[in-house]
């Protein structure tokens, strides 16, 4: 058994051990230490398994447990190793962070059981070598995360969110099961190794693709299947949200790549699959960020950004599918690398953002941005880390988000003319959507950082906030360093990911990437595009230093006054921009898409010209919830009610139904 697989199985074993540890460990401190220590170990093991799997290759074994006639298989290939790396690189910092975050948590035992089980489920999915193991661990992941979402189940809101989450997770599980069943029918075995070799008819391949796309799309939160996401992420504990948004959505991406790219393969692709994925990616990217802009609940906002980033990942993967279908494997490999690069980037910076949000929530006790403000003075360390993540997610150099979005753009720009007019239109269209999403994301994080960390405190809680403890700071420092490293040294990292396109497309980009040394990232050739992150960083530091030196020359006395007061000493917290106000222009521009529910209430006293109070309220609902989920829910309820009355009323009715069933069956099968 190769080292990488041993490490991966050890990571799973440590998680299982952590989940069992409450049986012997009592006491809050002991359990907290066990949780963070064992999870951190699992994270480190997963990371090293990922690295060694990507560098020296993996292997597969038949596990000693499972059903007697249906043994379980574990398999670690380049794709799995990459996702192990993704899991490990967020699990480790989250484990460190949890040690501080759970200091005041009363009921830690359920967390100690379900967080490691959740991690185990995700690692198991990545390691699964057959459909049975995949589904088993998939369900473990879904169910244990349900218990984490409903951890604070004393609130009705949390239970509702948990229910919707469980419902949609099961729907997704059912669809994925259908996809595997279709593949099983073609291959005659649950083993992935056999499924890979089996050929499948185009019709059934499309069926398997659609089932997989909708199943994994639901779990990944692709618009319009994202309904559970903005409800479930805010209510979970913040470190759990970090894991869910950072890794669990990526595991869904993994499942999609596993089924569509690996088990079926580029030979089976049809052009409309690629168009569907590109359309889903584009709509998620723009829809997610538009809705994120309108939120004032910090964690809900971040949840919508997950939708956006999944869209960006899907744009990369969809472009790769399109290029692979039309026979451009090198460019397809570039698109795939872009998608995967964004996968790990998003895992890291979204994890960091959720941890930052958790730190803010921990100190202020609220998720509502309208009652925060000025936190940079009271929580400077958190503010810096949050800023790093915000710059990363806004795709600005020198951090990592820029690299992956830039690669995605390069793929779209270099895509030659393919297929008919529709396809020729959809590639630039998705690139344009990506650009729009990037710009809007930047606007959104200007809003978040400005409203939460800058300005004046809008509430007493925000005014009295304290900086979080060292463990939480360390937990946020690690991904912040990753963000910088991945942003500055993509040339060293891309050859690692290169194992995945080598496995799926049998081409390698390593040579062209390396062609100009470690300094310059040149995806295809230097004449078309190149980017040197270290140079960009150096330039930024020099220019920034010069500006600082020019603004703060030695010897000059600096007078600090209240911010944004424009010389007027009588400003108060309510006179600054708030979250709703900041997003007002974009709400106007995208009025048709958002359809906000606005009310202006003017109170006049004594005379119609004497306005005493103006109150503006706005509610931006999710159109998918309003026009898709609620009608389906209402329909289901009305059918259930009708069936219920049918149950209650009448032996005769029941007999009639039996009779009609008999007649129908006779007519059908005789």
């Amino acid at each position: 058994m190769p080292l990488s697989l041993q490490l991966a199985l050890a990571a799973c074993g440590v998680s299982l051990l952590a989940a069992c540890s409450p049986l012997i460990l009592r006491g809050h401190t002991m359990q907290r230490i066990a949780l963070s220590l064992l999870l951190a170990m699992a994270g480190l093991l997963a990371m090293s398994a990922g690295f060694s799997g990507l560098i020296s290759g993996g292997g597969s074994i038949t596990l000693p447990f499972g059903l007697p006639w249906l043994p379980l298989h574990a398999e670690l290939d380049a794709l799995g190793a990459f996702f192990m790396l993704v899991i490990g690189s967020l699990l480790f910092p989250v484990a460190v962070y949890s040690h501080g975050y759970f200091r005041n948590e009363q009921r830690i035992t359920p967390l100690l059981v379900f967080m490691p089980l959740f991690a185990l489920g995700m690692m198991g999915v990545v390691l699964a070598g057959d459909a049975l193991a995949f589904m088993l661990f998939w369900e473990l992941m879904s169910v244990s995360s349900y218990f984490l979402v409903t951890h604070e189940h004393q609130h009705l809101e949390n239970r509702k969110a948990g229910f919707i989450y469980l419902l949609m997770a099961h729907m997704a599980g059912l669809l994925i099961l259908g996809s595997f069943a279709t593949l099983y029918a073609a291959a005659g075995s649950f083993e992935f190794a056999v499924m890979r070799e089996a050929s499948i008819e185009p019709f059934w391949a499309s069926a398997a693709f659609l089932l997989a796309a909708f199943g994994f799309g639901t779990k990944a939160g692709v618009i319009p299947l994202h309904g559970w996401l903005p409800d479930a992420h805010p209510v979970a504990p913040s470190n759990v949200s970090a894991l869910m948004s950072g890794i669990m959505l990526k595991v869904a991406v993994f499942g999609f790549i596993r089924v569509v790219w690996d088990l079926m393969g580029p030979g089976d692709f049809q052009w409309w699959w690629c168009a569907l994925i590109l359309a889903a990616g584009s709509s998620s990217a723009v829809g997610g960020v538009l809705l994120a802009l309108q939120q004032h609940d910090l964690k809900r906002l971040l949840a919508y950004h997950s939708v956006e980033n999944i869209g960006i990942i899907l744009i990369g993967i969809g472009l790769a599918m399109l290029l692979a279908h039309f026979g451009h494997p090198m460019l397809a490999a570039l698109g795939l690398i872009a998608g995967l690069y964004h996968t790990i980037n998003h895992a890291i910076f979204k994890g960091l953002l959720f941890m930052g949000a958790g730190a803010v929530l921990h100190s202020t006790g609220t998720r509502d941005m309208e009652s925060m403000g000025g936190l940079i003075h009271r929580m400077p360390v958190t503010a810096v880390f949050f800023l790093v993540a915000a710059i990363s997610i806004s795709a600005l150099p020198p951090f990592n988000g820029f690299v992956s979005e830039w690669l995605t753009f390069q793929t779209a720009l270099m895509a030659p003319q393919m297929g008919g007019a529709l396809l020729m239109a959809i590639v630039p269209f998705s690139a344009a959507m990506l650009a729009l999403a990037g710009a809007l994301a930047a606007a959104c994080f200007v809003k978040v950082f400005g409203v939460v960390f800058l300005g004046h405190a809008r509430s007493k809680m925000a005014a009295q906030a304290q900086e979080v403890d060292g463990w939480m700071q360390a937990g946020m420092a690690i991904p912040a360093i990753f963000c910088l490293l991945l942003g500055v040294l993509p040339v060293l990292f891309i050859p690692l990911i290169d194992a995945v396109p080598q496995m799926l497309l049998h081409v390698s980009l390593a040579d062209s990437v390396h062609a100009h040394g470690w300094l310059w990232l040149t995806p295809v050739s230097a004449s078309q595009a190149s980017y040197s992150s270290p140079l960009a960083l150096t330039g930024m530091i020099i220019i920034g230093g010069l500006v600082f030196w020019w603004l703060h020359p030695k010897g000059r006395v600096i007078r600090r006054s209240r911010m944004w007061s424009c010389g007027n000493p009588h400003v108060n917290a309510r006179m600054q921009y708030n979250a709703t106000g900041f997003s007002q222009p974009l709400r106007r521009i995208f009025w048709g898409v958002l359809q906000p529910d606005e009310h202006v209430h003017v109170e006049r006293r004594f005379h119609k010209l004497l306005t005493t109070k103006v109150r503006y309220t706005v509610h931006v609902g999710d159109l998918a919830v309003k026009h898709l989920y609620q009608p389906i829910g209402r329909l289901t309820l009305s059918i259930a009610r009708w069936l219920n009355t049918q149950h209650q009323y009448g032996i005769h009715t029941n007999l009639t139904w039996t009779f009609v069933t008999v007649i129908l069956l006779l007519a059908l099968f005789a």
Partner: protein
């Protein structure tokens, strides 16, 4: 020659069986419903005896005897006793206009023939022609359960379904194994007894044997709670 005579006889009996099923549907009075039900049992036992004689399956004689005693005599008598003791209104109360019911019954019979006809071509048995009639009888008895108000008529319908199934078994496979048949016969007997007990209980609880009345009071109870 004798086989073909027996076949004609069985076909004739099957036709009578269908006629009886229609007659059960068409009755207005409880007493005649029971009469026709008894006639159905007797017909069954004759059919079983004829099949036993012509095919040489001796155990079918036992089935025939059982059918005569149980279905021709005991069950109708039990039901009659229930009606008398409970002072049930002695009229069948249909939910549907009788003419419409008969039209439906006609359609169902046609449907049964249409559905079963392809199967009959496979069978080698001399009783194969009875298959479609037996199916029609099952469906007609179900129709009777559906369209009658009184619990007792529904029980008669249920027992008629059982009779038709018995008939189908004779037609399709020269009868079921004896042990199974005895088991079923006892089940039916017990069912009839239990139904009888239930009728008493139901009447005591709801003051009526009409299914609608039971529902009404159940619904009322739901509302109260």
């Amino acid at each position: 020659m004798i086989i073909s005579f027996a076949q004609q006889l069985i076909d004739g009996l099957a036709a009578l069986m269908l006629l009886v099923s229609f007659a059960l549907l068409a009755q207005h009075r409880m007493l005649s419903v029971l009469h026709w039900f008894a006639a159905q049992g007797v017909l069954l036992s004759i059919t079983a005896a004829v099949v036993a004689y012509s095919s040489g399956h001796d155990e079918l004689y036992a089935s025939a005897a059982m059918a005569f005693l149980l279905k021709g005599m005991l069950l109708p008598w039990l039901l009659w006793r229930v009606i008398r003791q409970l002072h049930v209104h002695r009229e069948v109360e249909p939910l549907m206009n009788n003419a419409v019911t008969m039209m439906l019954a006609l359609a169902i019979t046609l449907f049964a023939f249409h559905v079963i006809h392809p199967i009959e071509n496979i069978s080698e048995l001399m009783t194969r022609n009875t298959m479609s009639i037996a199916t029609a009888c099952v469906l007609l008895a179900m129709l009777m359960m559906m369209t009658r108000k009184k619990a007792i008529t529904q029980v008669v319908g249920f027992l008629a379904v059982e009779n038709s199934l018995f008939f189908a078994a004779i037609g399709a496979t020269n009868g079921m194994p004896l042990i199974v048949e005895i088991g079923i016969a006892f089940d039916v007997l017990i069912a009839a007894l239990i139904f009888g007990v239930f009728f008493f209980e139901i009447r005591n609880t709801f003051d009526s044997l009409e299914v609608d009345a039971m529902q009404a009071s159940l619904v009322d109870k739901d509302d109260e709670s």
